[in-house]
């Protein structure tokens, strides 16, 4: 291979004038983390609501939940981001559209909302499955005690369902982190975008991508360890999940 490696490149100043190439990558890492966390919060909120809808006995609620999930699951994330970023401002009334277009940090907000909603459909599916895996008698017992439907979900069904789906939620969160890289297409300089920029300016392709790869691996390891600690923290004595 006649590729000239230069690992010192990370300590050389980057063309933006603000620090080294390493600083550039770390800034991208920060954007990746903040975007992923914001998207995840949105995914959890909407995913919980839709997941509950899908598990209700009402036909209408199940139908709405089904449509929501199908809508967000059957389009590529990239296309969804384009819809939010390029199409939505044009479809809104003039002033609202203009406001959206001129919003500072628009790529970040678009990414957080777009990825968040995309992931919320998957959280909803997991949660509905988790609720469905609980014995039918749990809901009955809560109802028989006089709890309302809302209370039944809040105090009985959701605490158990979320414990059961913690492992799949871990991988969904990791998917959120990975999906944040798609936002490079709407101009968000997250980790992959920063590596790409470094490659374009410095021509040190493989150093840039190696560093980004390493950072993604570290995020993965940290998340997996963190979630395992969380699983242990909320484990119920004597209860074996997946019975």
């Amino acid at each position: 291979m006649n590729y000239t490696w230069n690992w010192h490149i990370f300590l050389e100043p980057n063309p933006t004038g603000a620090g080294t190439y390493l600083d550039m990558l770390l800034a991208g890492l920060k954007v990746t983390i903040v975007t992923s966390l914001s998207a995840w919060v949105i995914a959890l909120i909407f995913g919980t609501i839709v997941g509950i809808l899908r598990s209700l006995p009402s036909r209408l609620a199940t139908w709405i939940g089904f449509l929501y999930v199908e809508f967000f699951r059957n389009m590529p994330l990239l296309v969804q981001l384009f819809l939010w970023f390029f199409v939505l401002p044009e479809l809104l009334p003039r002033t609202a559209g203009l406001w959206l277009k001129q919003m500072p940090n628009a790529p970040f907000y678009t990414a957080a909302v777009g990825i968040g909603l995309f992931m919320s459909a998957r959280v909803a599916v997991q949660l509905a499955a988790g609720i469905g895996s609980l014995p039918r008698g749990q809901k009955m017992a809560a109802t028989a005690l006089g709890l309302t439907t809302l209370q039944t979900y809040r105090y009985v069904l959701l605490p158990m369902a979320f414990r059961i789906i913690l492992p799949p939620l871990t991988s969904e969160f990791l998917n959120t982190v990975k999906n944040s890289a798609v936002a490079i297409t709407i101009g968000l300089i997250e980790l992959t975008g920063a590596a790409r920029a470094m490659q374009e300016f410095s021509f040190q392709v493989f150093e840039a991508f190696s560093a980004a790869t390493l950072m993604y691996l570290v995020i993965n390891v940290i998340v997996v360890i963190g979630m395992r600690l969380l699983e242990r923290a909320v484990a119920i004595p004597g209860y074996i999940t997946g019975k």
Partner: protein
């Protein structure tokens, strides 16, 4: 608002969108799924082989691939494949690799990690009695896998494999980052040339949505039919 729409731009670009763009997308999807399944199955067999080093290497590959964003992997291979080609052919300079070949290699290597997890689950779901019965009949390990275990694993996992292929179909849109004219890339080119982003992106979304919906409906039908047969 709709009055400002120029739907004619879609009509004018239909042949470019479908004959060039969609053909690229569908070919890439089909070949990547096939290649990914073959390599994925090999990786799964390595993981379950009982040889520790082989299992360890396969596991590392799967975990590694699955912790990286597809976009980054696409960039990696785009820049790496010419050098690998140079190394393989012994040429003096990095060889030129076309957009299609580069994307195909990327998606096969990437999807192999995901397909291998599905096949591994499929192989593990088959009762231990099956390989035992096959060995008792005198079949070798390879024959047992080839004629007894893998066909069953494949059949049991077919709905999951197809669902993953639908995901793959959507993911191929990410070759956009290499400015390759797949379906979305083609739509985007027209959109930017004619300044018709709204129409073109809405149309692209509609087409992806329709194809994915029909495909996932078929998978659900297949799933319920399999469930009845069992």
């Amino acid at each position: 608002m709709l009055a400002n729409f120029d739907f004619d731009v879609i009509r004018r670009s239909l042949s470019y969108l479908f004959i060039d763009g969609m053909t690229f997308t569908l070919t890439l999807t089909a070949l990547s799924a096939t290649g990914g399944l073959i390599f994925g199955t090999l990786i799964a067999l390595m993981r379950l082989s009982g040889y520790r080093v082989m299992g360890w290497i396969a596991g590392l590959y799967v975990d590694f691939m699955r912790s990286l964003p597809l976009v980054l992997v696409i960039f990696w291979f785009y820049f790496l494949v010419p050098y690998i080609g140079q190394w393989v052919t012994g040429s003096s300079r990095p060889i030129k690799v076309g957009a299609f070949a580069s994307s195909l290699i990327t998606f096969i290597m990437f999807e192999a990690a995901y397909f291998s997890e599905i096949m591994r689950a499929g192989i593990q779901s088959i009762s231990r009695g099956q390989p035992a019965a096959a060995s008792a009949l005198g079949l070798t390990y390879a024959q047992t896998m080839r004629y007894v275990v893998l066909p069953q694993a494949f059949r049991n996992m077919l709905p999951v494999l197809l669902t993953q292929t639908i995901v793959l179909f959507q993911d191929t849109s990410l070759v956009y980052v290499l400015s390759i004219p797949d379906f979305l890339g083609a739509a985007s080119k027209v959109a930017q040339r004619d300044g018709r982003l709204v129409e073109m992106y809405l149309f692209a979304a509609l087409i992806y949505f329709t194809i994915s919906c029909i495909a996932s409906y078929c998978v659900r039908r297949l799933q319920s039919r399999i469930a009845i047969i069992r």
